[in-house]
């Protein structure tokens, strides 16, 4: 088993960890953290693909690497938006929760 395979398995494990955190942790900020873990796990899978796709003489396949760079930037933007939403919620209500999980909530409407 090569080093790259190790990182691929690491990525898969991180995906599992991140998914668990995203689903079970009630606080939105922890969910955002878990999402980042999930994302970096998927990126490591791309990394394994890139290393394995290294044909003779090349260190890696640049296409998956470019995709990961794009995705890292997008994930940061998503985190920034999510954090801004959480902080705004904190300002408005004094708590940062996703509220009751009951979907049939009375939601006012201007």
């Amino acid at each position: 088993m090569s080093g790259a395979n190790l990182f691929g398995i690491c990525g898969a494990a991180l995906v599992g960890l991140g998914l668990y955190g995203l689903i079970t942790n009630p606080e939105p900020l922890r969910k955002i953290l878990a999402f980042n873990l999930l994302g970096t796990g998927v990126f490591l899978i791309f990394g394994l693909i890139s290393r394995r796709a290294a044909a003779a003489g090349f260190p890696g396949d640049p296409v998956p690497q470019a995709m990961v760079i794009t995705a890292i930037v997008v994930a940061f933007a998503a985190t920034a938006l999510a954090v801004a939403l959480v902080l705004r919620l904190l300002e408005q209500t004094g708590r940062a929760t996703l509220g009751a999980d009951n979907p049939v909530s009375e939601i006012g409407n201007p």
């Binding site: 995906v15 995203l22 939105p28 969910k31 955002i32 999402f35 999930l38 994302g39 998927v42 899978i45 791309f46 394994l48 693909i49 394995r52 796709a53 396949d61 296409v63 998956p64 995709m67 794009t70 995705a71 997008v74 933007a77 998503a78 938006l81 999510a82 939403l85 959480v86 705004r88 919620l89 408005q92 209500t93 929760t97 996703l98 509220g99 999980d101 979907p103 049939v104 909530s105 009375e106 939601i107 006012g108 409407n109 201007p110």
Partner: protein, 503 residues
Amino acid sequence: MPDATTSGGILLVFAIVFPVAGVLLSLVVGGRQVERIALIILPCNLILASAIFFDLWRSGSQLIYIVGGWQPPLGITLRADGLSAAMMVTTAVVICAVGVFAHADFDTRAQPFETRAPFVFWVLLMAIGCAMNMIFLGGDLFTLYVALELLTFAAVPLVCLDGRAETIQAALRYLLFALLGSILYLAGTALLYGSYATLDIVLLSQRLRVETATLVAAVLMTVGLFAKTALFPLHIWLPPAHAGAPASASAVLSAIVVKGSFFLVVRLWFGVMPGLLGFTGAQLVGGLGAGAIIFGSVVALRQKRLKLLIAYSTVAQIGYLFLMFPLAFDSVSSQLQSSGALTGGMLLAMSHATAKAAMFMAAGLIYAALGHDRIAELGGAARAIPMTVFAFAIGGVCLIGLPPSGGFLAKWLLLDAAIATGQWSWAMVLLVGGLFTAGYVFIVVAGALGSPHEPLKLRVAVPKYQEAAALTLALLSLLLGFVALGPIDVLQVRPGAMMAALR
């Protein structure tokens, strides 16, 4: 034989470039002009979409553009087939109507300085147009991922545009679900790239083999897209988000945004991997759709507030869209066929888009006029704002599936496919769903037609052009059934069609 850029291909580039330029210009030129910029970009978008549609109809073959001159698998291709063109025109029409409607709520020239909500709304509306065009035209799975993220970031701030705590919660939940969906989709693309070294849709469909990595990728991507499309049971984010947004935003969210990820599900299964689904998979997807229809309709019937009722109706209607999977499955060839069921499903998506947008607009007008949207107290609305209630009713007619609406034609095609393949259970689901829809539409319309307890006093005078926008969309959904007489074969222009003709 590799693809080559067709003569109309440059239209595809403009369909992406114009809205992007609009967004960039708006950020610099500043808030008061942004509505003017949008009112130029949105009709241009409609003209481009129509041009692409007519070019496709006339020539019978796809429009292709190879970006940068780099051939796939290294480069990216933009492709417009029948499905793309039809959805582009529908999206452009709805967005233009929303643009007209939203002028009253988001007038940028009301204040002498740039104001938050109008500025954000118009820029995000253009961005949604750009993202949807990219989804319809993108020929590469990673480009489609970027387009999906574009759509998410354009849609989420619209949910909490009014700044109340409940809508911010709804937006946060929507964002988390959407991000989960995108990252699962991305994981699938990693596995597909690892197996085939390309993410181009046509190349993938040619190179596809049935093996573990491909199956796992397909499941991951589909589950991710289900979360973004709010298919039962991953639907819990949708009702608060769509009901809490301002009326123009709800119209765009329900009518257009959810169709984006749905379109990708269709592209993935009908375009890339038609032979991978299998009978069980198709029945499973149909089962989820049926669950959505039953659940969404039952909960909609119990709603006390109009916007929540319409939002749950969207959950149910999304279920209809996924019924086309078991109905398009051909057990003989064990493949998904691009035939009547697909046409029915896409037509259903188009008529739902126009009808639902009209219904949300009408709900917004009712709220503005009456000061509330409690269904039990809608009495007198029909007399006070007849055009609005009429628009709602016509939209409802289309959702129920009465002739000559687009909904009727779509359900007829789906029933046809159900009977042809002998899948009577799905036919029953379609009919029962129609009854439920009739139920909740009737409750609202009957309520509005009733007389009020005390004489009704309108809060504000509802502008006629807003009512006209809602009514136009509703009438369009009603008349969509007449496409059977003409352009419906456009939906059959697919990449596979040419290959089949060559064999």
